[in-house]
Every structure is written in C-alpha cells, then in structure tokens.
Symmetry: C2
Subunit: 222 residues, 2 copies
C-alpha cells in the first residue's frame, strides 16, 4: 500500500472514451440549422453527421432545442458572480444596468457566433418557446440580487418584477440587434435601461431623440 494507490486520473478517467463532445455536436448542429433551417434538421441527421447514434445525442443534450444555448447555466453563473461583487452603495437599478450590459459584452471574434445563436433563438417558434424556460434562471439571479438589496426574499413580488423588467430590456435589445448587425449590443441594452427610467416622460419628442441615439452605429457618441 503506497498511500497514493490510485493516481487521480490524469486526463482519461476510465471506461470507454467518448465518441464526440458537447461542443462538436453543437457546432455541427448549428451549421446544419443555419444551412437548412431548424425544423428541417432532425436529431438523427445531426447524430449521423457527428458519427454517433441518435441515442447518444440525447446523452449530451436533453432536447434538440437546448443545442443553440451552449452552456447557458454557466453564463448565468457568470452573471451571478458579477452581481455578487457589486458594492453596496451602488443604487439597485444602476447596478443591474451595469451588470446586464457587461454580461452581454462578448469578445469581437465571438460576436458573429453569438448573433447566429440569438437570431435562431428569436426567430424559430420552438426556440422562442424554449427561451422562456432558459431565461427563468437568468431572472432568478436578478430577482435574488434585488431581493438582497430590498431586504426581502428573491421570490417576492418586487424582486420578481425587477427580474422580469431587466429581462425585458435585454430581450428588446436582442430583438433590435438581430436586424441591425452594425449596432453595438451592450449599447442597445444600456439604452433600453435608460429608456425605462423615464417611461413617464415618453412622448413624441423625447422618443425621437432616444431613437436617434441608437441609430448610430457602434453607439459611441461623437
């Protein structure tokens, strides 16, 4: 007995090696969706293209509609950590605004991929449907934060409402972004939050100036 008898698996844990990966299936699937449309691609076809059985596909993804979401739970964790680090003196909505804006800033080389995902998710009915389930996690994180700040459970009315509203801002920005690729997503989200803070004052005039702001490509004011 050496004391260090089992060498704590270097890279290969044990058993039969995997025939594919989460990422590979995702890449193949997204490619096929882009080419032929979501509904016209069956799980069978994705599996075949990956050289794997249909049954195996479902061991990597719970459903077909989970494919475009990547590891969304992990993304949500990122949001949670960001919010955990917000200093207490920062006002609630300002903090949320900053956090959500930053959460949606993706590295330049990943922008196209991100747009493809969002475009699919927001256009295909089955994926639109699925999105509400996915965003539920997201909302809970926001509500949890708001609850801490307001001194009440994250599940109570106001925190939940704030979660809904923050998600609204983000989704409205996503929808605007898809047909306007030249726009800057974080800026769109920031604008959405800004508009929300002055809903009462919204009439012909003020709306026009705001609308003009977001029309600037890239969003950096001159």
């Amino acid at each position: 007995m050496t004391g260090l008898d089992h060498p704590a698996e270097p890279d290969r844990p044990l058993g039969r090696p995997r025939a594919t990966t989460h990422d590979e299936l995702e890449a193949i699937g997204m490619d096929l969706f882009g080419r032929r449309g979501y509904e016209n691609v069956s799980v069978q076809q994705i599996a075949e293209a990956a050289g794997v059985s249909r049954r195996t596909f479902f061991r990597y993804f719970p459903t077909k509609s989970d494919l475009p979401w990547g590891d969304f739970a992990q993304e949500v964790d990122r949001l949670r950590s960001t919010l955990a680090l917000v200093p207490d003196q920062q006002p609630l909505m300002a903090a949320l605004r900053r956090a959500v804006v930053e959460f949606n800033r993706v590295p330049a080389e990943a922008v196209e991929q991100h747009r493809a995902r969002l475009g699919l998710i927001l256009s295909e009915p089955e994926l639109i449907a699925r999105s509400l389930l996915k965003f539920q996690l997201w909302r809970e994180v926001i509500a949890e934060f708001a609850g801490r700040r307001l001194g009440m459970p994250g599940s109570s009315f106001l925190p939940e409402l704030i979660g809904e509203i923050a998600l609204s801002a983000a989704v409205a920005a996503y929808r605007e972004w898809i047909p306007h690729p030249s726009a800057d997503l974080p800026t769109l989200i920031d604008t959405a939050f800004e508009a929300m803070t002055d809903l009462e004052g919204l009439e012909h005039g003020s709306a026009a100036t705001l609308a003009q702001r977001i029309a600037l490509p890239d969003g950096r004011s001159p």
Copy 2:
C-alpha cells in the same frame, strides 16, 4: 326565381354535424389536467372522454398546449379595441396601465376558472414555454399602440420595449396572484405599473411600503 333562392344557412351550414365543440374539449381537458396533471393526460384520453377520435382533437386545437388558452386571439382583440378608444391627450404609460388593468378584470364568477388556467400555464414547463408564443400577439398590440403614440412603426425599438415591459408587469402580477388567491388581480397589475414608474427610487424603505400595499386583500385602500 324568387330572388331569395338560397336562404343563407340558418344555423346548420351543411354537411355532417360536429361531434363536439371547442369549448367541450377545453372543459374536459382542463378537468383532466386538474385531476391528474398536464403531463399525465394524453390527447388520446381527452379525445376518448369527449367521445371523439384523436385526429379530431387536433382539428379543434393545433396542439395540446393550446387547450388552456381558450380563445386568446379574441381576448387580444378586446385589448386592441380598448386601446383604440383611448383619448389622445391621455399620457402613453397611463393609458397602457389603465388598459392592461381593465383587460385583466374578469367577472367574479369566472375568477376561479381564470386562476386555474393561469396556475396551469405558469407552472407546467411545456405551457410556460408555449406562453411566450401566445403573448407575442399581446405584445404586438401594445407595441402598435405605443408606436402610434410615438410617431414611429410599432416594430421599432421603443414600442417593442414598451410592449415587453407592459407584459413584464402583467406576468409578474400573474405569478404573484397564483399563490395569493385573496389578492385582487387588477390591483396587483396596477401596483406593478406603479412600481415601474419609480424604479430608480427603489430601495429598502420605499419597497417596504409598496410591498405592504399589495399585501392587503382585495386592494381597496381603507
């Protein structure tokens, strides 16, 4: 030749009479869902209980998950008509608030049924998913109204954002209502809109007073 030769079908248009109705299937289905849970009831079983074939069920409802929604398109039309009658001098958000509050006022005898629907829709994952598709119509109506008011297409950023936000308020209220049957739904919605108008000022103190307001059963202030 009488000039009035074909008598414009009194009640029976022609052909084989229907074996069931939209409403009957809905009633039977909702009953079964309530008894055994949504997932544990197959379309087959609903059809059998209605004395009709499975194929026929799908001639009355496009999908199983449409069943709890009744004739939602018609409800949305009601909202549209309400908004069309709003006087122009009424501020945008105030008008929306009133319209959405009134839209959600149901006659006392229908409250329980309405609660059952909403409870199902907000708790069963498949129905949660479906809800986004359904509410899309709802949002479009709001966005269309906002667009008219702001002098821009209903499909532009701000109107869409306003649609999202109004829906958020309503949904947050629905979710609060389900576990608190004694609350008054229109009042909850009104409160949600009110809270949204002062998001910036939301901190410990103000939130507590608001939270207290909605805790009053029935919502009529003393």
